[in-house]
Symmetry: C2
Subunit: 83 residues, 2 copies
């Protein structure tokens, strides 16, 4: 499960490539609300992992947090305010 | 963290509403690869939660799994094969 916790966050990479590079014109189809919640939740898990000193939790969720924030920024850049 | 584990999965609902109802024409901007990985990973966490008998893990990831599979199906229905 440690393997999944570390590899899982990178699952967002294809979605980031579509949002920023190949399918930016479809950015409005991305949910700002969903990705903001993912970013907030991964931040909470990241902080929790740091507090309890569990490396697989804070590394995996730290990477997720960065990628989720990039999704939020990409939606704001390419689609503006949406839900 | 149990609260987050249960509430978190529902973060995907706005994204599902956009994909199925309000922004289906932008479905091609969704990454089939990313959502398939999310579905696979949530299935693994769901199965892990069942095996170790941790309700917050299998309930939260079970809900995630269902919503992620709905995202995969929605992308296939509205955008067809993509990456």
């Amino acid at each position: 499960m440690v393997f999944i916790g570390v590899v899982g966050p990178f699952a967002t990479l294809p979605q980031l490539i579509k949002l920023y590079f190949t399918h930016s014109q479809h950015a409005t189809g991305q949910s700002l609300l969903s990705w903001s919640l993912y970013a907030a939740l991964s931040f909470l898990w990241f902080a929790y992992g740091l507090v309890v000193g569990k490396l697989p939790i804070y590394v995996g969720n730290g990477i997720s947090m960065v990628l989720n924030i990039l999704m939020v920024l990409g939606i704001l850049i390419h689609a503006g305010m949406t839900y």
